[in-house]
């Protein structure tokens, strides 16, 4: 290889590194701009954030989740809506890599370091775009008293053998007071379940209102 070729290669590698660095900086700037818009006190500025959210994509998932814990209820709502916009865009046909990138970020938010309200919302986002890579983290929440019902429904919605297997395993492991719920999901997925009958028609709630005499 000639020296001139080496020089050319070196310049090209440098250009790629610079391009990657520039792209990284641009992404970082886009996330910062999005978060600044979403946290703004003005709903008009927040609306601008909602317009750009889906283009920012996966890098904005965790920063937006953090804003979902904001004390200002309108800021919290805007962050939630922006995150949903990312999820809805990522789930489009022929965007497999984008979907996987967003789903991976969402899975990272299911841990107990996040507020329950955020984890619940993230579960439902995964119900739309989560694949088999998300099943283990969702199934783990079947033992979480506050989130198990959402986790159960989300597993019901995600197609495939893995989610079905997680529900079956969940039925075995569940405490008695939750087995009926999982049995409901298994029936919806076409599995025959014995020992835990459907109770949908059994009334339970009494009124205090008396009939007119």
């Amino acid at each position: 290889m000639s020296i001139s070729n080496l020089k050319e290669m070196s310049l090209a590698a440098g250009a790629v590194a610079v391009t990657a660095e520039t792209a990284g900086a641009a992404k970082k700037k886009a996330v910062e701009e999005l978060i600044a818009n979403i946290k703004d006190k003005s709903d008009k500025v927040r609306a601008e954030g909602l317009l750009i959210a889906s283009d920012v994509g996966a890098p904005a998932v965790k920063p937006l989740a953090k804003v979902m814990g904001d004390k200002d209820v309108e800021v919290m709502r805007a962050a939630k809506r922006a995150l949903w916009k990312i999820v809805r865009r990522a789930g489009r046909p022929s965007a497999r890599d984008e979907r996987k990138a967003v789903a991976a970020e969402l899975i990272g938010l299911l841990g107990d370091g996040q507020p329950t309200s955020v984890r619940r919302e993230v579960l439902w986002m995964l119900s739309e775009i989560g694949g088999r890579e998300s099943i283990k983290a969702i199934a783990a929440l079947l033992s979480d008293k506050e989130l198990r019902e959402d986790a159960r429904m989300v597993l019901q919605r995600i197609p495939g053998r893995q989610s079905l297997a997680a529900l079956k395993a969940g039925l075995k492991a569940a405490p008695e007071d939750f087995k009926l719920n999982i049995a409901q999901s298994l029936r919806k997925r076409g599995v025959k379940v014995s020992g835990y009958p459907c109770v949908k028609l059994v009334p339970t709630k009494k009124t205090n209102v008396k009939p007119v005499k």
């Binding site: 008009k44 019902e149 409901q184 339970t204």
Partner: protein
């Protein structure tokens, strides 16, 4: 009572409950006991129960009380998740009517022939399916379903249990709807290839409030029912549930289920569906409500080819309402903010409203049916049509198949809006194709034990 042989487990439970209740409350003899299996006798009074008695449900109850006072029906029970509304309904219905919080007590009672369901939209499918499974005839408010999966379950339950279902898109039963229908099917504007539905915008939540504890009179768990759990917020209920996508869905569902109902019927398109659906719109930027404020949806039908649009537009863009004397069959136009324009190759026709008020353009009202021309079904009234269905087995004017077809249009419009992309729809199988995320949104897992 019908279907005795199919309800073994429930009958056991029902028998126990009925036995306990009978001690304190006299039950009515169901009309079906005096007639052919599954059908009330032609001259027998039907025994009714009302599930959901606020808003539209209150109107239905007052209407049924008038019918009872004329000796046409019995009223056995009222039900609501809000104790204040329930107490008001018990008072309206008067002595001899049992109040319940949980509708499933009503479904256990063998003396009740039929139920009127006017709960928030997210309850319609579950309660209709349960009622059908317990052998009750059903009048259920529109829109029929919130998801494609719910609609399929409603149709299957009505067919399997052979109950009569009327859905509350009562526009089909209005006198001027009949006049419009026969005018259009007789080719007065030629071949129609486009229907443009118009409506004013969905409201924005301009008074947002944070989540709070539910009021003492409201059973929040029961109000939510099949929906995933979330904290109570005043902006969910009562009537304003309409502006939340999950529970109402905005004007496209609330009024689309009326205006598009007329369109599908008059176009002879019941039982069909579009092949593509594409929506755009503006989403709210604050508050709890998330339905599209402005919206434009295009539905493309094939074989025969025609297009329907649904547009939520600013008020100043709406077509002007026709001036009237008040002596027309439908009287003056009291709700000019919605309707549809039918575009044919020989002219155009417009109607306003589409629900309890349906107003046809003058040329359709004045058109006389020539000898040999095609006449169309004239509803005796939306409830009368339902009673006829119960007693004779005749298909109701807004039967569950037709109503699900219309509700699906509303659902698909919203799914396309939410996802921001065009959907491809297989109308025979009733499935979205080629979009995994949208396919998952055809159904929505329901909270235990409030499920289909």
């Amino acid at each position: 009572m019908k279907r005795k042989d199919k309800l073994n487990r429930r009958e056991f439970l029902a028998g126990a409950a009925a036995g306990a209740a009978a001690v304190s409350f006299p039950y009515l003899v169901p009309s079906g006991a005096l007639a052919a299996r599954g059908r009330a006798g032609a001259n027998e009074r039907l025994t009714m129960a009302h599930i959901g008695v606020g808003g539209m449900g209150g109107s239905h109850l007052r209407d049924m009380v008038r019918r009872r006072d004329r000796g046409e029906v019995n009223i056995a029970a009222v039900c609501d998740a809000d104790e204040n509304r329930l107490a008001g309904a018990a008072k309206t219905a008067g002595a001899g009517v049992q109040p319940y919080r949980d509708y499933r007590y009503i479904l256990e009672r063998k003396d009740i022939d039929a139920v009127v369901i006017a709960t928030p939209d997210h309850w319609h499918a579950v309660q209709m399916v349960h009622a059908a499974e317990c052998g009750k005839h059903v009048y259920v408010e529109k829109p029929a379903c919130c998801t494609i999966e719910e609609g399929k379950a409603m149709v299957a339950a009505a067919r399997k249990n052979k109950v009569s279902v009327q859905v509350g898109s009562q526009g089909r039963s209005q006198p001027e709807a009949y006049l419009a229908h026969r005018y259009l099917v007789n080719g007065n504007i030629g071949h129609i290839n486009r229907v443009d539905c118009f409506h004013y915008p969905s409201p924005a939540d301009n008074n947002p409030v944070p989540d709070s504890e539910p009021p003492a009179e409201l059973d929040w768990d029961l109000w939510l029912g099949p929906l995933r759990w979330r904290p109570y917020n005043k902006r969910y209920c009562h009537g304003v549930f309409r502006w939340v996508l999950e529970s109402g869905g905005g004007q496209i569902r609330d009024r689309g289920a009326h205006v598009m109902s007329c369109a599908m019927w008059w176009m002879g398109a019941d039982g069909t569906g579009p092949v593509t659906v594409e929506a755009t719109g503006t989403a709210p930027t604050k508050g709890l409500w998330d339905s599209a404020i402005l919206m434009e949806v295009t539905y493309t039908f094939k074989n025969p080819d025609w297009t329907m649009t649904w547009t939520q537009m600013p008020n100043d863009k709406l077509p002007k309402a026709e001036k009237r004397t008040g002596k027309e069959p439908g009287g003056r136009i009291s709700r000019p903010g919605y309707g549809a324009i039918y575009r044919g190759d020989k002219g155009e026709f417009i109607h306003w409203g589409g629900d309890g008020g349906t107003w046809a353009e003058k040329k359709a009202r004045e058109w006389k049916l020539p000898a040999g021309a095609k006449d169309v079904y004239k509803s005796p009234g939306h409830k009368e049509d339902w009673f006829k269905g119960i007693k004779t087995g005749a298909k109701t004017i807004m039967n569950i198949e037709a109503a699900v077809g219309v509700a699906n249009l509303c659902v698909l419009g919203n799914v396309s809006f939410i996802l921001g992309r065009k959907l491809h729809w297989e109308p025979v199988k009733q499935e979205i194709v080629g979009d995994e995320q949208a396919r998952r949104m055809m159904g929505r897992p329901q909270r235990h034990p409030y499920h289909l």
